[in-house]
């Protein structure tokens, strides 16, 4: 899809971050243009989720160096909620349960806050109900999930679908999907992938974190990166994912050394 001519949405330079005083990200360079799909792969514990949370503004992660510019704005200066309102979206690897808060109420507040901030009309509960049901159809989600508490008691796959529903509602400029495929059954993977493809446009971009090449059959990446030890150590086209699937990660370290 990309011809390398889209405008730059995200530009990360030399990003370093620590959690609890332990350095995790050790100098990440990463550029995403409008219209592109990037996949980030890499061994467990290499820093992929940390990277996503640092970009989303998790308060436990301390940025110790580098820059991140999102759509022309210094991302690191913004609070987490401002990042969301400005069009950055994170689909969590482990979505949090919020007992007692109805999903419909949560989704509506998120919608009204994020899109209301972009000048869209706020929706009352009835209007929102119609609106969200349309989006749920796209993901073949049972409307019963509206009445349940946010993510509470949802199966792993149901949580992931609820994340993509939020992506559909919030219309982000850049969606960072952290292992959205893990936990999804075969049909769900296809449905969710179609949902994501449906939301793609020349103006937005998607970053996928995944361990499996299967997702990439559905959402075809323009670039595949390998994260290791808090750095992006290799970048290639989609064929890199196939090679990783066949050979594992070991050879990259040796090659880089």
């Amino acid at each position: 899809m990309s011809n390398g001519a889209g405008k730059i949405l995200l530009d990360v330079r030399g990003l370093c971050a620590s959690v609890a005083g332990v350095p995790i990200l050790k100098g990440i360079d990463f550029t995403v243009r409008a219209g592109e799909v990037h996949a980030i792969m890499g061994p467990n514990g290499s820093g992929k989720s940390t990277f996503s949370k640092v970009l989303a503004g998790h308060p436990s992660y301390e940025v110790t160096g580098g820059t991140a510019v999102f759509d022309g704005v210094d991302l690191l200066e913004l609070s987490a909620e401002e990042r969301a309102r400005s069009g950055f979206f994170l689909s969590f690897q482990y979505p949090v349960e919020v007992p007692g808060v109805a999903n419909a109420q949560f989704l509506r507040l998120a919608y009204n806050t994020v899109l209301g901030g972009r000048g869209r009309d706020e929706l009352d509960p009835l209007e929102f109900d119609d609106f969200v049901r349309e989006k749920m159809k796209l993901l073949e989600m049972d409307p019963a999930f509206l009445d349940r508490s946010v993510n509470t008691g949802f199966s792993g796959g149901e949580k992931k679908r609820n994340e993509i529903l939020q992506m559909a509602l919030l219309e982000p400029k850049l969606a960072f999907l952290d292992e959205t495929d893990s936990g999804l059954d075969i049909d769900a993977l296809r449905i969710v992938a179609q949902g994501v493809n449906h939301l793609r446009s020349a103006d937005n971009a998607v970053v996928l974190v995944t361990h499996y090449q299967r997702l990439l059959n559905y959402i075809v990446p323009d670039f595949v990166h390998v994260m290791d030890g808090g750095r992006l150590v290799k970048t290639g086209g989609r064929e890199l994912a196939l090679e990783l699937e066949a050979r594992g990660y070991d050879w990259i370290g040796k090659q880089a050394a």
Binding site: G57, P59, S79, A84, V98, G100, F106, L109, L170
Partner: protein, 478 residues
């Protein structure tokens, strides 16, 4: 993030003003002569003086309880003034006679008086320090035979009713604070719903402690005769002082055959500052007696104030098929301590009780639920369901649950569920990543948490209680 949470829960107390009204205060200290003086000032009949003196003599033999999970320096009972009445204390026939300063106080408190009361359809009995100064709607209620007046008035106008029921639910010897209250109570509310009458409006009382170092000891007595029903609302605020004030009320409810009493409280006594200086010690005995068959007593409380809350609104289910309910939200912040819960004592057959308790702790506060479910040997087919949930905000607060269950009849069924959850950084980050700031997130989570209790509150009260929780938890973020 803990700074964010801190801001959220650091809301200044909005009722912390003192009304400058000349008050008739009895010197500090307690002995029989003080009790005689109170009784004399209130022009009481001999039997009531005897009731007080018997309570006082019993109190002298009692020890302050130490089992609650709360800590405070010993109370000096000789350092309290046991009677404070705003002057002039002649009976007031209409609101126009009320001291304008007092009315301004009510305005600041948001007490629905005058037309506000009329519009809201609320009859308000206002207790200011110890003397009831205004009762609205008495006439309309009188038309259907409902008596709603200050306790002192009831003593004079309906002595046979007061004498018949006073101390029958909470005996003078019941516990340390109940005995003290029985000895020195100064006023309170009295409510009587005669046979077959559904009280045509919600009855509401606002309590307020105004004088520094004056204890407040109200006495409330509500009687619903056969087939009668009433919904009673109690709201409480107190001004801000650096010293601690003692509030030791006694509330007695009696429900006869097929009667029902719903008693709702929103308590926002001054809680002390963020370092635990000042605040009300709220040591209250509330108990309802389901005396008749198919009677029902329901307690709903939203406790947000006081430095220390020690309170167990209870039901004694004597009549067969009687029903007891307890719905509670207790919020503690800063250095507040709460040890609250209920007792459901099943005596009659097929009696049922429900307990829903929601504790919210923030700051360095400590919040305990303590509940007793007792099924007596004759309580065939008795049922209880209890659910006790705790919510922690931040890392430095505590929550405990102490459920006591005693079953002496094996046909009874008792269920207990408990949970503890935490508003953690990850939950707030999840909301933030959807554009929702911490203040809104906390309010949404708390509202969800207390929903099962708030739906039990009368409409106007639910709105007020919601606003109150919001006030306690909102603040400038960042």
């Amino acid at each position: 993030m803990s700074a964010v949470l801190q801001n959220l829960i650091d809301q200044p107390y909005k009722h912390g003003f003192v009304t400058d009204i000349e008050a008739d205060v009895v010197p500090k200290g307690l002995d029989e002569s003080v009790i005689r003086l109170i009784s004399h000032k209130k022009n009481e009949p001999d039997w009531l003086l005897e009731f007080r003196l018997a309570a006082y003599r019993h109190w002298l033999t009692m020890q302050e309880p130490t089992w609650p999970n709360v800590k405070y320096p010993p109370v000096d009972f000789q350092d309290i003034s046991y009677y404070s009445a705003p002057k002039p204390k002649k009976m007031l026939a209409s609101m126009d006679e009320v001291d304008p300063e007092l009315l301004r106080t009510f305005e600041k408190l948001g007490v629905p008086m005058h037309e506000q009361a009329a519009l809201a359809g609320v009859a308000v009995d206002v207790i200011f320090d110890s003397v009831s100064v205004a009762t609205t709607y008495k006439k309309k209620l009188a038309d259907v035979g409902v008596i709603f007046c200050s306790f002192s008035e009831a003593v004079h106008e309906h002595p046979e009713l007061v004498r018949k029921y006073l101390g029958t639910v909470v005996p003078t010897s019941d516990n340390f604070y109940a005995a003290l209250n029985s000895a020195v109570f100064t006023d309170g509310s009295f409510c009587f719903i005669p046979k077959g009458v559904k009280c045509p409006m919600e009855l509401s009382t606002y309590f307020r402690i105004n004088t520094q170092e004056s204890g407040q000891f109200e006495r409330t007595l509500i009687i619903a005769e056969e087939g009668a029903s009433v919904s009673y609302l109690e709201g409480c605020t107190a001004p801000r002082f650096d010293t601690n004030q003692l509030h030791a009320a006694v509330v007695e409810l009696v429900a006869l055959d097929n009667a029902s009493i719903k008693y709702s409280t929103v308590q926002n006594w001054y809680a002390g500052d963020e370092n635990g200086v000042g605040g009300i010690y709220n040591f209250v005995t509330k108990r309802g007696l389901c005396k008749g068959v198919h009677s029902k007593i329901s307690w709903t409380q939203v406790e947000t104030g006081s430095a220390i809350t020690w309170k167990y609104p209870s039901c004694v289910l004597l009549g067969d098929h009687s029903v007891g309910e307890f719905y509670s939200v207790a919020l503690t912040n800063h250095m507040q301590q709460a040890d609250t819960g209920t007792k459901m004592v099943h005596i009659g057959k097929n009696t049922r009780s429900t307990i829903i308790s929601k504790g919210i702790s923030a700051g360095r506060s400590n919040n305990s639920y303590r509940g007793l479910v007792k099924i007596g040997p004759k309580a065939e087919g008795a049922r209880n369901f209890s659910q006790c949930d705790s919510m922690l905000i931040g890392e430095t607060c505590g929550a405990n649950t102490f459920p006591y269950i005693q079953v002496q009849n094996n046909t009874a069924k008792v269920e207990h569920e408990a949970s503890t959850s935490k508003i953690g950084e990850d939950q707030l980050f999840y909301f933030a990543s959807r554009g929702i700031d911490a203040e809104e997130a906390v309010s949404m989570i708390i509202n969800g948490f207390v929903k099962d209790v708030f739906t039990q509150l009368p409409m106007e009260f639910a709105v007020e209680a919601g606003r109150l929780l919001g006030l306690k938890l909102e603040g400038s973020v960042g």
